[in-house]
Amino acid sequence: MLIRPFGWNEFWIIVLAAQWTIALSVIAFAGGGLGGLFIALVRVSDAKWPRLAATGFIRVFQGTPLLMQLFLVFFGLNIMGFGINPWIAAALAFTLHAAAFLGEIWRGCIEAVPSGQREAATALGLRYFNRMRYVILPQASKIAVAPTVGFLVQLIKGTSLAAIIGFTELTRQGQIINNATFSPFLVFSTVAAVYFLLCWPLSVLARRMEHKFSRATKR
């Protein structure tokens, strides 16, 4: 096997692979956001069976490894006749994963809105949809920003597991370059540095917002 040195060219190949990590994270976050809102609303609804189903969905996703969720979707799509496609499998698995976690985070935020708000809205004659739309969700969303950004960091890091099912994102590109150059120290330091540059600003942002929020609500 021909071993080529780790140079600028290899460095840029790794850095540019971050676009697939970002793309996968954006898809999962958008899909997971929609699914998570639905799950959170079902979780706080009065309908017993849907509520139990949503709770079960969250428990299963929080009680099993992300890697296994990824494998089950990957092989599950295959036996349902969709063929092996890492893109679709990764997008679907991370969307479901994000929906479960965001659903649980946002449920907590909705429940953190004082119950007097809901009662007052009901007393003003607002029905469920308008009550949620104009009274509960705007207040809950303020509480939700910091933990949601925190979860986004977790999601970006989680997309690295897509490398294991052969999706060529940042980590997989690092493995490929490592196989060609055999400089694991440089390669994985570069990969880690790119993840750090993606995640660290978000972590700092989440921490600042949490700090600001806890000061604003302190009496």
Binding site: M68, F71, F75, S160, G174
Partner: protein
């Protein structure tokens, strides 16, 4: 329509259970060592030596903002170029300890900060030694405060440990990979493996709540 075939999975169930046992051992060992590392780092963050504090802060930020998979690749493939060669299982343990330490430090620090300064002063006034104060007045109530956060971090650690199968350690996920390539019943194998993980995380949750009731039953401060 696909026909499920669980027979080869059930035939290899003993191998999965051996893997599950290693996952439990690996997680418990990583938890204990990681907790010791967390306490040391949390103490170090209260130190007067600024470079030590910066070093610990840097460690926490780097670990928390990079994926575990990259950390384990770095340890397993990167460290040998510096002359430190590890077996897959010990690389897995090292990676889990280093990873847990970063999250644990923040949890322990939050616990220590929850102890009122007057408590420590009262301990000094009673003539307790520094070590006694740290053990009985700071650490024990602090651990009780952060117990829920620590236990959920442990469950998260156990689930994360499935990633060590990527360097062929002998854990449950790796046992699943082996069985999968031997039987080709991929979906069935991973369904069973996932259920074992689910059972383990539910089991540990139950054990932790029993321990909480037994160990921390003395009354909370008013």
């Amino acid at each position: 329509m696909y026909e499920f075939n669980f027979a080869p999975v059930l035939a290899g169930l003993d191998r999965l259970l051996v893997g599950a046992w290693l996952t439990v051992q690996l997680s418990c060992a990583a938890m204990i060592l990681g907790l010791a590392l967390s306490i040391l780092c949390a103490l170090g963050k209260t130190s007067h030596i600024a470079p030590l504090r910066w070093l610990i802060d840097g460690y926490i930020e780097v670990i928390r903002n990079t994926p575990f998979l990259v950390q384990i690749f770095f340890i397993f493939f990167g460290l040998p170029t510096l002359g430190l060669r590890l077996t897959p299982n010990s690389a897995a343990l090292l990676a889990l300890v280093v990873n847990f330490g970063a999250y644990g430090t923040e949890i322990i620090r939050a616990g220590i900060e929850s102890i009122h300064k007057g408590q420590v002063e009262a301990g000094t006034a009673l003539g307790l030694s520094k070590l006694q104060i740290f053990r009985h007045i700071v650490m024990k109530p602090a651990l009780r405060t952060v117990y829920p956060a620590l236990t959920s971090q442990f469950i998260y650690l156990m689930l994360t440990s499935s990633v060590v199968s990527a360097i062929s350690a002998d854990d449950l996920a790796a046992a699943g990979n082996d069985l999968q390539s031997a039987t080709f019943a991929s979906f069935e194998v991973y369904i069973v493996v996932t259920l074992i993980y689910l059972g383990m995380s539910m089991g540990f949750s139950a054990i932790f709540s029993v321990i909480e009731k037994a160990a921390f039953k003395y009354p909370l401060s008013r």
